[in-house]
Amino acid sequence: MNEGPARPPRWVGMVLIPLVNLTLALAIAGLIILSIGENPLTALRFLLFGAFGYIEGLGYTLYYTTNFVFTGLAVAVAFRAKLFNIGGEGQAYIGGLGVGLVALAFDDTLPLVLMVPLAIAAAAAFGAAWAYIPAYLQARRGSHIVITTIMFNFIAAALMVYLLVNVLIKPGQMSPESREFAPSAWLPFMHEALGWFGIAMARSPLNLSFLWALVCCVLVWAFIWHTRWGYEIRTVGGNEAAAVYAGIRPTRVIILAMCVSGALAGFVGVNEILGVHHRLLLNFTAGYGFTGIAVALMGRNHPVGILLASLLFGALYQGGAELAFEIPAITRDLVVVIQGLVILFSGALEYMFRPQLERLFTRRGAALPVEG
């Protein structure tokens, strides 16, 4: 007889708990808004309308979502091997550098159909390379990946400042930015792409990298659950001793998982550099790498969950900006507080209600292991 507790239905962990946590975060945010004398329901209405209520707002929401999908997937892939990749920010930054270098080198020679795959490959290669170093140090030298990836975020930031101030800066200007790429190398905006089919859409930063993000969700899902490499990653994450027993080399798997993770984070550069800014600049990662951790946590490290969580965070970013604009008493900082509450409840306090809810939904007699 197995004396372990029986398991609650899967939807409790996958749907109910995130919803309860989200509701609670919004309820507390509501109390804060109430305490500064504003109506929380009005605020919620502005937030939702800002995020989804009109096409331009929706475009912004999905543009943010794109970044969160990349960084969320990055965290999730590493997490499947029990690696906590805090370095998504730096990997995204360096991935962007790869995109920028490719675009600066070939923007007036290569056609877009070649430029885009090359830029994607460069983003992946640069992001993976930036993740490779901490991965190598973890696998071969035992340096803790959390520490090294955090440090590599700072190194990436310093490197980018150096390059943009001293090397890549457009001659004759003050701001540390590269020259603008030739428009032929720009990844088309969604409103442009839809325009080709005669569909009119309001202008927004949303570009075709959103589609790449969706493809990445499918690719990551297939990679993790339907390839032998994904199997090895999950084995190392689930039980490293069993991996060694099975002839899987954890050092290789750690490096593989981190490189895939870094590559995914690097794709933020495709969205930001090739899709929106069309030049290399500083700080385009804007914390997406860190928010990716909360996205992955909330999305249970599964591509479907990550897509939904990314949409939520995208909506919070865009709707929050709108909210701050519409209700002056609710400042940008307060919007950050609301975002922080969601991260707190869905990330750090993820397990707060889990025991109670699971107990509530664990039916007696369900899934009872049979003695043999």
Partner: protein, 530 residues
């Protein structure tokens, strides 16, 4: 209602004294699992009382309730006649219950004295407390014949002595009822006998002992009364003198089982595994395997006996490609391993080796995997399961179903999480995975550890069938019965060396026990190691 909490039971051990422990209608659920159902138990004061049952029968749960780890859902507990509400282990200790766990709760770098007073230091300054404790412990040692050097560092003591430290610890805290959970699992037969002498001395001084075990022989050897648990229920309370091994085994399992395995004489073929002068040093620089040479031929089972921790595990891991070797050579089905050319587990498997590891949950399975995923561990690169990039889920599923039905894994659910199977069924998943590859050499470690008797029989038969099909089997087990009933040849390991070899048919428990303690008896057909 009589309350007689503090009276020592030594003089009152007669019929009039209340039982040391009385349980009435104790129930405990874990989710849907009814781990203890309506348990009643009386343990007479000043006796040695055995509780036997298969793994998962609920013994440990019951004792954890008694020690205040778990709260019973319902039921009454009385200790020396006094009703007791156990909310924590402190309540249990206060009521005079002491527990010695299977895995010792000792701080290795501390001395025996420091370990014993840990948590009962008696003040902010250690000095006076330690001095008082020393006097008290010396008295306890003299009373019970425990013979432990109070100033020895615990980590340097043999396991048998560490166990006595645990007993001393419990007695120092005023235990009048001592519960021991599988205490002999790590002991040599000689150490076990020594432990039983301590039990008898404790009993004669009025201490009540509850011995939890699944080893029937120990029950017969040392207890006065025995309670049998099966599937969370108490099925019998017996006087040891009035029962027999066979009756207890039947009560435990609920049906007749074969204690011996039926097998024909081995017909060994060509040599499949040849180990020469193998040495292995662990990361702390301790030599674990020291110049071992052995060979295993097709169609025979070679057993490696020994007390746990004498290098068998490391030897097995080295043969499986998990640990690197420092000296010597392994030749297995045409492949060769030397310190200069180490092989990992994947390469060893490619040579034709399969491995049932000693600790299935730590090494042989991934608890968070579905059964179908665990059932391809180590063979996940097999072309049968893989396309160029994607795996073939339907083939993996079909393969798992086939294995589950051939090995009677219950429940037969390939998508159930591995961790949710019982120990015996998890072991069957591992066995099915490794045996169905029809390897030339099968390494097997502790195949029946934590497995109930019904499954033991099945596993033993499967191993014999593998042998008869021409597979070379190397079996490592600390269960002497298992080694003796399965092996055609038995090698005994002690402190990393092979001390001798006995033919399976000729091995007696005494001979093996002596060899496991490093003594090679003159008689009984023991051959010195090659």
């Amino acid at each position: 209602m009589r309350v007689e909490a503090t009276a020592p039971s030594a003089e009152g051990a007669g019929a009039a004294a209340p039982p040391a422990i009385m349980l009435r209608g104790v129930n405990k659920h874990f989710g849907p699992v009814h781990a203890n159902s309506d348990i009643s138990l009386e343990v007479a004061a000043g006796t040695i009382h055995g509780i036997i049952g298969e793994n998962g029968a609920g013994k440990s749960t019951l004792m954890s309730i008694l020690y205040g780890f778990y709260r019973a859902d319902s039921g009454e507990i009385r200790v020396f006649g006094e009703p007791l509400r156990l909310d924590s282990t402190a309540d249990a200790i206060g009521a005079g219950i002491g527990m010695v766990f299977q895995h010792f709760m000792l701080v290795d770098p501390f001395t025996v004295l420091e370990n014993v007073v840990l948590g009962a230091e008696g003040g902010p300054l250690l000095g006076p407390g330690l001095a008082a404790a020393r006097r008290e412990l010396q008295r306890l040692e003299a009373d019970f014949g425990l013979e432990v050097d109070l100033d020895a560092v615990v980590g340097e003591l043999p396991v048998g002595v560490q166990q006595r430290v645990e007993i001393l610890k419990a007695l120092y805290r005023g235990a009048r009822v001592l519960i021991l959970d599988e205490p002999t699992g790590v002991l040599t037969p000689q150490e076990t006998e020594r432990l039983f002498r301590v039990f008898r001395a404790l009993r004669d001084q009025g201490v009540t002992i509850v011995l939890i075990t699944h080893k029937l022989r120990e029950i017969m050897a040392v207890t006065e009364a025995v309670s049998v648990m099966r599937h969370g229920k108490m099925v019998a309370h017996l006087k040891t003198a009035e029962t027999s091994l066979e009756e207890l085994a039947e009560l435990m399992v609920g049906r007749k089982v074969l204690l011996r395995v039926e097998k024909n004489a081995a017909e060994p073929g060509s040599t499949v595994l040849e180990v020469e002068n193998l040495s292995l040093v662990d990361e702390r620089g301790v030599t674990r395997v020291d110049g071992v040479s052995l060979s295993v031929r097709a169609g025979e089972i070679v057993g490696i006996a020994g007390v746990a921790g004498n290098g068998q595990s490391e030897l097995l891991a080295a043969l499986a490609g998990i640990l690197p070797i420092q000296r010597g050579r392994i030749a297995v089905c045409g492949g060769e391993v030397t310190p200069e050319h180490p092989r990992d587990a994947r390469e060893m498997r490619e040579f034709g080796l399969a491995h049932v590891p000693e600790d299935r949950l730590r090494m042989g399975l991934v608890g968070s995997f579905e059964a179908r995923e665990s059932s391809i561990l180590g063979y996940h690169r097999d072309p049968a399961f893989n396309g160029p990039i994607l795996t073939h889920p339907s083939e993996i599923l079909a393969d798992c179903r086939k294995k589950m039905s051939a090995y009677d894994v219950r429940p037969q659910d390939p998508v159930l999480l591995t961790a949710n199977f019982s120990g015996g069924n998890q072991q069957k998943i591992v066995l099915a995975r490794e045996m169905e590859r029809h390897p030339d050499l099968l390494l097997v470690g502790q195949p029946t550890r934590g497995v109930d008797i019904g499954a033991v029989e099945f596993i033993h038969k499967s191993l014999i069938a593998m042998r008869d099909a021409g597979c070379a089997v190397l079996l490592v087990s600390v269960e002497l019965d298992e080694i003796r009933s399965l092996s055609d040849r038995i090698l005994v390991m002690f402190e990393g060396r092979i001390v001798g070899e006995v033919a399976g048919a000729e091995a007696t428990e005494r001979t093996l026990g002596l060899m496991m303690a490093g003594v090679v008896p003159e008689d009984a057909g023991v051959r010195a190691p090659a």
